[in-house]
Amino acid sequence: MRYIGHAPSQIDEMLETLGISSIESLFNDIPDNVKLNREMNLPRPLDEIELKRELLNISKKNKAADYVNFIGAGAYDHYVPAVVKALVSRSEFYTSYTPYQAERSQGTLAAIFEYQTMMARLTGMDVVNASIYDGASSLGEAILMACNIKKKNKVVFSGAIHPEYLTTAKTYGFGNGIDIVSSVYTSSCETDWKQLEKLVDDNTAAIVISMPNFFGVIEDVKQAEKIAQAKDVMLIVSTNPITLGLLKPPSDYGADIVVGEGQPLGNSLNFGGPYLGFMGTKAKYMRRMPGRIVGETVDADGKRAFVLTLQAREQHIRREKATSNICSNQALNALAATIYLAYLGKNGFRDVAYHSHANTQYFINEAKKLDHIKIINPKVFNEVVVEVNDLDKKYQTAIEHKMLPGLKLNKFYPEQKNRLLIAFTEKRTKQEIQELLKVLGVS
């Protein structure tokens, strides 16, 4: 009996207490014609040794997990410190539910409060919620929020947003008939501001930009601010939190809602999840924000304590009038992000951003010396688009060297042939970068 708490004799005692002779009779209320009446067709149960052996073998088929990784595109191979892994593995954290009973959940609540604080400082926003599912869904929620605030139903996207964020946002918009239009990107992989501005009309609630954008490029964010102000639309900024170790927070260029993927903050790649979406906004919009929020208060003895607050926005109270349907979020991933930020601290966090950026710059500067690598736009932070001849062949060579050289952009943009989006973190060594240059730089 796997994971069952009773001794067999206790089951008999319980049946006796209930005055019944078999467990089966507890299911007499289920009509026979909806009962399964056969055994489910599932593989035989495995004991722990078999299970571990089998899963270890399956995990080894993920050969890419061992390769030197230059793929980014929304998920980044930053180092996850042992401290983070050890602390999020404390079962008082990971085996608890959402902190509904505040008096016995101060650990989770205080950590979320710290998360809200650090993310507010990072993004420059007044309030940050306790997390959303991931970067793409936090953007989806942001467009719904903006359309509700503005009572309009169109949102204009920069053409240089992560293509899968655009798809996700469209799915979120589909329910309420929100029209999502996207401008193009320029030949230097930047937002086409003129075109974007033209797409904004009276029915537009918000514009959405990514900083840095999907192609790694540092955008001319003042343009976004100008358009948002001139057209009286909200500015939604999707950002990579690591870059905020060096870059100005989006509040500085007028962001009304900041969202993004929090995975780079202490969360492993995990084939795309679990990650965490973050969302911050201005104080005046906080009652329109989706998701859980923790507030400071006191207990009956007047001591500082924390509790879920502003719940009148949420589904369990407002039902169909809630700001969002979100209930469970990504609390443990947000805890990892919190511990990561605290542990790296002021200097360590800046260093991770700086090293990632310096590695990128090193690659760019070395690549410029080679004939066969074209840098599309060098004004980038931690990711850069390159064009090389014979990409497929070179990609294969890289794979043979146990290296993932980047993301082939034709996955999303058929017109971007022979182009790679390459990401650099503090984990990449000088030698690894040189090897990549060697593979890509041959004629």
Binding site: P43, L144, G273, G295, T297, K303, E320
Partner: protein
Amino acid sequence: MENVPLIFEKSRKGKEGFKLSPLKVPEIEVSKTLGEDLLRDELDLPEVSEVDVVRHYTKLSRMNFGVDNGFYPLGSCTMKYNPKINEEIAAMSGFTELHPYAPEELSQGTLEIMYDTQNLLAEITGMDYFTLQPAAGAHGELTGILIIKKYLENKGEKRTKIIVPDSAHGTNPASANQAGFDIVNVKSDSEGLIDIEALKTVVDEDVAALMLTNPNTLGLFEKNILEISKILHDKGALLYYDGANLNAVMGIARPGDMGFDVVHLNLHKTFSTPHGGGGPGSGAVGVKAFLRDFLPKPLAAKNDEMYFLDYDIPYSIGKIHGFYGNIGVVLKAYAYIRSLGAKGLKEASEIATLNANYLLKKIEDMFDAPKDALCKHEFVVSCKNWKEEYGVRALDVAKRLLDYGFHPPTIYFPLIVDEALMIEPTETESKDTLDSFADALRKIYEEAKQTPDILKSAPHATPVRRVDEVKAAREMKLKYQG
């Protein structure tokens, strides 16, 4: 007792935790590479040592309570034991270090797990296809309702309403609203089941679907489910299954056989993955074959040579997650299903139901509760009589249970029951635990009669005393301000 600590108060200028070696590549001037006007001023993060960090979060963890600490009968949440081996498996580097855009040939392990999990869940629920993309139950609901919307639109039908029972979880109406539907509530009858006559009067050609959980939120099996299904389907509407309560019926009855067209499961409930203090979960969605072409992209698939991500889904609603869902959570659910097999899962449901009925029997005399009723994996009792006779509320009972070392049940849900305590013991709890919980409740019942103030001022033995929610909502201190 002291203030709950915050990491910011440990910060001392110059302290360091994590530190990288000096750069091996050339130093750069960020004012040149990024531009002077884009550089931020100082970033105000804590300056703490590694020991500070470890002690602080260890201390915070001890102010928490999880399934590993004790009984956690939180109704509708299925707080069963979270097997340690599943944590170990999900932490294997072959899984954790895999990038979502790594080449498929080099990601065969995780793709195999995804493919197999889709099929295992289909067999368990009687559905045809599953997507693992939704990250939680509510996310699954949104996905499922959008699938229904797209399907109807594709048929050229413009249906505007979704029906939810008055006992439904708040996410049901909220998700339907987020998918652009109007909500119609249908009431429960005196037994706590959907009122069939009331249902008939609201089902018309404008109804897209009924959202239902079975057993329902009162822990009762909707025994008229086939009739309900017929009422909906006869009018061209679909039936949506909120799988939060699947823990009662695994291997016994399947939503697919009850007439449901779309289901979501909470892998973080029935399939034992830990709740993480509020996520990550996984809200896998299953559909009948006629809805396959509307699922989000991509699905894990398999051809003669290998596993791959199938983007060929003609009428797909698009994407609901940036990548493929909470795959690390899916892995734990997969490991759980492989550990238990068909017999083990059925036994889990049987014992979960036995435990609920046993505990109900042990405590029902103290509450307004349906006497001798058969519940499934959970049940709801009302503290209305406690309130009327002794002036104590469900909230006070919950807080006092904390003093006895138990996590309280869900309170004030479902909304149709006054002063509700919703109790879900799960199969992993022993008779001894159930007995001591029942004993504690009985002691609290006596306290309610004799010294009700002990309840009203509870908890007394927790890291903090009762917190002031009103003050939090009024002052709105949502971040640390020094």
